[in-house]
């Protein structure tokens, strides 16, 4: 898998983690269970800042732009379609065994696509 694509997927999961810790219902449940730690959100945000530095500026810019616009910048391809907007992806790309070794974007919505291994 393309290293930058791996980093973008990890960044997406990190953003989900940050958003979850910021959600009242999840935070309340985690506090009840003793899983919540004060300062965890700030630590994750700091970690995100550091992590972003390892991502190519071009892809980081696209990721941030897509996140602002759609809320999710990276989506899986499902049955040859973009899971974000359901557009059918080019057959040549979907059938390429090396498809994850390059970053592909949806031709319609522009989201970053990966294929589950």
């Amino acid at each position: 898998m393309d290293k930058q694509l791996e980093k973008l997927i990890s960044l997406h999961d990190l953003d989900v983690m940050i958003a979850d810790l910021d959600r009242k219902d999840i935070r309340k449940r985690e506090i009840e269970m003793g899983l919540h730690k004060n300062g965890a959100l700030e630590e994750l945000k700091e970690l995100r800042k550091e992590y972003c530095k390892s991502i190519n500026r071009k892809w980081r810019g696209l990721y941030n732009q897509l996140t602002r616009h759609y809320g999710n910048a990276v989506v899986p391809a499902l049955m040859g379609r973009c899971a974000g907007c359901l557009t059918r992806l080019p057959t040549a790309v979907c059938s390429d065994p090396e498809r994850n070794f390059k970053i592909h974007t949806c031709p319609t919505c522009g989201r970053i696509i990966y294929w589950a291994d």
């Binding site: 999961d13 989900v16 449940r29 899986p76 589950a116």
Partner: protein
């Protein structure tokens, strides 16, 4: 809620990192996805260990790398260094990232919290895999509703 449950009753791992890797090896995903999930779970642990009820750990995260809630229950008789505390039961779960998944994630956390509150000691002392899964309200490879 749809989910898959897998179980490893005799974990050989002795550390948190090893336990996460060993349990992720049961996940129905490829090696690359496993590695990325291990990173996400490790990040979550680093900002706050997920140990509850003395010796139960709940490593968890939400990820775009799974398409439904996937749970792995693990048990170690020797104990696992987590690393501040020693745990013998690990309930690892990864929820998908979908529009309604935060609610499902919260619902599942509630389910686990209820089971641990009600039968925490019995969960820790469960003598076999079936007993452990029954106490947690799971069935192997169950496709829940």
């Amino acid at each position: 809620m749809k989910y898959t449950v897998l179980c490893e009753f005799e974990l050989s791992a002795t550390s948190r990192t090893e336990a996460i890797v060993e349990m992720l090896s049961l996940f129905p995903v490829g090696d690359k996805s496993r590695r990325l999930l291990a990173t996400a779970l490790d990040v979550r642990e680093k900002v706050g260990a997920t140990v509850v009820h003395d010796s139960i750990a709940l490593p968890h995260c939400r990820s775009i790398l799974v398409d439904k809630l996937t749970i792995v229950v693990g048990r170690s008789h020797a104990g696992i260094s987590w690393p501040e505390e020693r745990v013998n039961t690990v309930i690892m779960f990864v929820s998908p990232v979908k529009p309604n998944s935060p609610q499902e994630h919260t619902k599942f956390l509630g389910h686990i919290a209820g089971k641990i509150r009600k039968s925490g000691d019995k969960i820790v002392a469960a003598g076999n895999q079936d007993e452990l899964l029954t106490l947690l309200g799971f069935q192997l490879e169950e496709q829940g509703e």
